[in-house]
Amino acid sequence: MLCRVNESIDRVQEADIQIDPLLAKDYFPECGGLAFFIGTVRNLQEGKSVKSLTYTAYKPVAEKMIRCIEQEIESQYNVPYVRVVHRIGSLAIGETAICVVARAVHRREAFEACEEAVERVKHEVPVWKEEFYWDGSSVFVEGCCIRRDRPAKLCGHSHHHEPREQIT
């Protein structure tokens, strides 16, 4: 059954993420576990001083995909509520980029569902991160290829810590 709590919240938004309503603390009296993750902008990346980040997204797919991921994880871990909201636009150091919440009867499923949601959104949803440094340079963080019919020669999976293409 589709969870209707906070169903109408935009999953990809330019506005600051309102975390408290996303926790849905007034709902799910059967749940003893609430796990949440907040990803914030940090000031250092591979030794370079970060000034700000800019997130962009292809919203038609990103919105739909995040909702699908939430429902799949709710089903996979048998939990009643998983919600993910990702911020786009220019973010300063310390600002919240992503918030993930999971409610479950017990803490184990809450932790696991929350972590799974973070990982899947980071690796599957069409969102891109451009880092701006104090030295004036910027890079697009090279991420995970989501092309489903990619040639066999391409690596199947890449992570953010792999070498990136720098544009100055």
């Binding site: 997204a57 038609p60 797919v61 969102v127 891109w128 290829c145 391409l154």
Partner: protein
């Protein structure tokens, strides 16, 4: 039939191409893969990056063999999605 396919660039593609989108004159029907091949002839600087790009039409990710035709205007806009790095 002659028409135009609008390729929308995302992530690093915008920086490489120097634009947010490109309208490609093309004969329909055709596949996205064939249209991308024509796009690369005009914008060869995108060639390497496009290898790892997914394609989307509307709210669906589609394969390179997706048919572009004149039956729906939505078919004529394709988003090119480089490797993702959210969170």
């Amino acid at each position: 039939m002659s028409s135009t396919v609008r390729f929308e660039f995302y992530g690093k593609l915008r920086r490489i191409a120097g634009m947010d989108y490109f309208s490609l004159p093309i004969k329909l029907p055709t596949t996205i893969g064939a249209a991308i091949s024509e796009l690369v002839e005009i914008l060869p600087e995108l060639s390497q990056s496009l290898e790892s790009c997914a394609c989307a039409v509307g709210d669906e990710i589609v394969l390179r063999n997706y048919i572009l035709d004149d039956e729906s205007s939505e078919n004529l806009s394709v988003a090119l999605l480089p490797p993702v790095a959210g969170g």
